[in-house]
Subunit: 110 residues, 2 copies
Amino acid sequence: MSDPIFEMHAQVCKVFTSPKRLEIINAIRNSEKSAGELVEILKISQPNLSQHLAVLREKGVVAIRKEGQNIYYKIANPKIIKACDLMREVLIEKLKQDQKLAKELIKQGI
Amino acid sequence: MSDPIFEMHAQVCKVFTSPKRLEIINAIRNSEKSAGELVEILKISQPNLSQHLAVLREKGVVAIRKEGQNIYYKIANPKIIKACDLMREVLIEKLKQDQKLAKELIKQGI
DNA sequence: CCTTTGTTTAAGTATTTACTAAAATACTAA
DNA sequence: TTAGTATTTTAGTAAATACTTAAACAAAGG
């Protein structure tokens, strides 16, 4: 077994490893949304959405507010958005770099 | 299938979801290390380490330098370290918050 | 109480990921 | 070329994750 802090750290980061969870995080980054609203936005089944929300809750990256029959979700810590955005930038920069390399190879006729 | 950008974003973030990969990232955050050195540090088998390095390479988060028989690994983009550190802070803050809540409950005698 | 609406949980299956052991590749030096 | 060291790749298996369907739970209104 690895050091428990690395273990926990890895567990928290699992919130980012599903495109649907990333879409949820993106949908609630500026304003809270109910589970029903998220179903509309993501266009997935309610149980599937609910399971992804459960992952986000268990890892503590979302906070909830109950109002009547609705449950509203929001991001628990703004650092989550910062980290998420940074990784998006890493991806974009890598894609640009790959594209640049590809162009150079084509120019050289390889 | 989700939007390809969320799909790719999720793929990149998989580098953070193994405690061993986090330990590798931590080990090379300040200075490059060879695969052999990393085996020493992590205390895992060379094939297992090599597989984790392969994940890091495929996602483009590490850069390599070959020197003789050795292959040195370093972080490809400092934003990866920033994102990793932010998620660590999110974890720490959550642990502190949980601890605080637990204390309050005990004080109330619940 | 019964029904409706919003949401979660459970069960089953398919896919993905991680680990172990064995084999292969790459480079260096004798 | 042969041997030795560093590293990766492959194959097989065990464990974790994601999705679908069906069932359960919770709150509100008639």
